[in-house]
């Protein structure tokens, strides 16, 4: 049985890219739907999945079964937008993690660990503290994006040693950037008098999806889908970049421009995710890593499937977070850290030799 499973995986690895992508996407898409359906039915008011399905179908014009009006309100106004925001955030963190691991040629890269999320959070905090976020609705993601982008290029600049990224320098640069940005956020909180803004800011310190609405969907989802599309289109170039700058150049990749676009798109996805959920850690580490074991390193498969798997993971984690100690709510960021931190330590142990070399 086990052998059949293993050789099945090996067979999958040998399939053509298009087949690997189609099979993986079909499985994960089905999983997204199943997990979303279960998540929609769970909560303080349990709604049977048949009703959930009927409500969704009726909202797109098919009346197939009866359901209560209150049930529809709970689904439409509370759970569905929250799940869509969660799915988008998972997607963003999954693709950003996969991209950064490729760009930095380093398995420990993750938007949270190397400080890109912290940059995004700082941007968001500044947008709220200065009142810009209240003025126009894209201010939050734009500020978060600028912060994420600045942090990404800062870490890149610190960690790059002649085109190489030692794991130790990258992680240390991440620690330093995280600490520095965290200090700025703390300083802003201390000097800020406004209580309303303060409560909003505290939201960013531990990531969560509570009371996310359609407005948050509008802020984040289109940006995340767009940056995922860009990353997918550049995934072949990323494959070559993973082999080294010289390799990529000799295969026709314009290394400098490609790297900037990839880093910017990954930072945009991260910034948009942070703008609506704060910093949810470790998703970008766990998802691409686990997938890589099965899919292999080809980013043309890894990036789109990391998007889907990230969505599944965050919806699942959020569902657990909001139902486990009902009626109170856990925050999803706490839950992903519970799973992610041990995972990170395991990876560190596994890669010890690489961490200490160079």
């Amino acid at each position: 049985m086990l052998y059949a499973g293993v050789s099945g995986l090996r067979g999958y690895r040998q399939m053509r890219v298009s087949a690997r992508l189609a099979i993986g996407a079909a499985i994960l898409l089905a999983l997204v739907l199943v997990v979303a359906l279960i998540s929609l039915s769970l909560g303080p008011v349990d709604i049977p999945t048949s009703h959930v399905a009927a409500i969704i179908l009726s909202s797109i014009g098919f009346d197939v079964a009866e359901f209560a009006r209150t049930e529809q309100l709970v689904i439409d106004q509370i759970r569905l937008p929250r799940i869509i925001v969660g799915a988008s955030v998972g997607m963003a963190l999954g693709v950003a993690g996969a991209t950064m691991q490729g760009l930095f040629r380093n398995p420990m890269a993750d938007p949270g660990i190397i400080g890109v999320s912290a940059g995004g959070a700082l941007g968001a905090v500044i947008a709220i503290a200065t009142g810009t976020a209240a003025l126009f609705f894209l201010a939050l993601p734009v500020f978060a994006f600028v912060g994420a982008m600045a942090a990404a290029f800062l870490v890149y600049g610190i960690a790059a040693v002649g085109g190489r990224f030692s794991m130790a320098t990258l992680l240390l640069a991440g620690v330093a950037v995280n600490a520095f940005l965290g200090a700025i956020v703390s300083a802003i909180i201390i000097v800020l008098p406004d209580n309303e803004a303060l409560r909003e800011i505290l939201f960013w310190l531990a990531g969560g999806l509570d009371s996310r609405s359609w407005e948050h969907v509008r802020i984040a989802t289109p940006l995340i889908v767009a940056s995922t599309a860009v990353l997918l289109l550049m995934s072949r170039d990323l494959n070559l970049l993973m082999l080294g700058d010289d390799e990529a150049r000799s295969m026709g990749v314009r290394v400098g421009a490609t790297r900037i676009v990839l880093l910017a798109a990954a930072a945009l996805a991260t910034g948009a995710a942070v703008a609506v959920s704060g910093t949810i850690a470790f998703v970008g580490l766990i998802i691409p890593h686990t997938l890589r074991l099965v899919l292999g390193p080809d980013n043309r498969v890894l990036i789109p499937l990391s998007a889907l798997a990230g969505a599944v993971f965050v919806i699942l984690a959020d569902t657990v977070a909001r139902t486990i100690i009902e009626p109170a709510e856990f925050r999803v960021g706490i839950l992903t850290a519970f799973v992610g931190a041990p995972f990170f330590i395991l990876l560190l142990i596994k890669n010890k030799r690489q961490v200490y070399s160079l």
């Binding site: 289109l233 494959n239 082999l243 080294g244 010289d246 026709g252």
Partner: protein
């Protein structure tokens, strides 16, 4: 003129046009033609007066290189002579300071990077990162320059990659990840990728450095066959015997300058080897293969003196006394 290579992919029309030998060199592409060479011998690669320096160290000093279709040019010279730098300059990996490179008559600087990769493939000396790709996945990457952004490789590309792996005898480890392969096996996988790229020009940096003797012969024989089919090959080769046996022309580099060039018989003389490499050598015809053979006898006494013997036989094409330059550098090191 180059023969039409049998394995031309028709998937990318632009590439196919490029490769359809008839279109070139008559196809002027509105660019001034270099020199007045007869069309049959227009170079596929032509570097002129290439110079490149890093931290005030002159790695290439006004180097000329010319290679035609159906020609196997060997770059020889001691460590640090500039062989790798020259190959990297021609393949767009590094941007040289001065001079020009023409690829199929067009300025390298003005060609889009993707287009260069359709024409030219580089087999690197060492490939530091392999990231868990299998050998087959890596060879398939050779098809990337020929695919549109929205394309993934199809059956035809699989076939081209499989053929390249058969030619390099790497098909037996197609599904293994590169980390699990030996240096020599990896080197052959990278050659397979270059072949799958279906280039007009193949650049090889020490292609045999990690290979056992059997595969040294097999790989160079393979390159030789591809060249006889119309490919242009330029290879940096340390082993003088292999260079003499497989190459049509040799370019001897030292200290970033071309010392001498020509057919192996003219370049590989005992005097030159002693002057440039500092090794006393015997040059003769190997009766078994009929090829020029070099026996390296000992580090030459003269390698230690300021002006090595044989300086009068060496006149670099630039007219500079090559040996003088060389001994100047060596005395600097001592």
């Amino acid at each position: 003129m180059s023969k039409h290579r049998p394995s031309v992919s028709d998937r990318n029309n632009h590439a196919a046009e490029q490769r359809a030998g008839e279109a070139w060199p008559e196809d002027a592409r509105d660019l001034p033609r270099q020199g007045q060479a007869k069309p049959d011998h227009s170079p596929t690669v032509e570097a002129k007066a290439l110079s490149f320096s890093v931290n005030a160290k002159q790695l290439l000093d006004s180097v000329d290189l010319r290679a035609e279709s159906g020609q196997f040019v060997g770059l020889i010279g001691p460590n640090g002579a500039g062989k790798t730098t020259l190959l990297r300059s021609i393949s767009n990996v590094l941007s040289y300071d001065q001079g020009s490179v023409r690829l199929l008559g067009e300025e390298l600087d003005k060609l889009p990077a993707r287009h260069v990769a359709e024409i030219l493939a580089l087999v690197p000396q060492i490939a530091p990162y392999t990231q868990g790709f299998t050998a087959f996945e890596l060879v398939l990457m050779g098809r990337y320059p020929h695919m549109g952004r929205f394309q993934v490789e199809g059956k035809e590309d699989d076939g081209i990659a499989e053929r390249a792996m058969r030619l390099t005898e790497t098909e037996s480890f197609a599904t293994r990840t590169l980390e699990t392969l030996s240096g020599g096996e990896r080197q052959r996988v990278f050659l397979a990728r270059a072949i799958a790229q279906q280039p007009r020009v193949l650049l090889l940096d020490e292609p045999t450095s990690n290979l056992d003797v059997l595969h040294q012969l097999k790989i160079l024989t393979l390159v030789r066959e591809l060249v006889d089919d119309g490919l242009t090959a330029v290879a940096a080769i340390h082993d003088l015997n292999l260079a003499a046996r497989f190459c049509d022309r040799l370019v001897l580099l030292a200290d970033g300058e071309v010392q001498t060039e020509g057919v192996p018989e003219d370049v590989l003389t005992a005097e030159t080897i002693e002057a440039v490499f500092g090794v006393e050598a015997a040059v003769y015809r190997e009766p078994a293969t009929g090829a020029l053979a070099i026996s390296l006898i000992a580090a030459a006494e003269s390698a230690d003196v300021e002006a090595p013997v044989g300086s009068e036989v060496m006149e670099a094409p630039s007219g500079k006394p090559a040996v003088a330059a060389r001994s100047e550098a060596t005395s600097g090191i001592r």
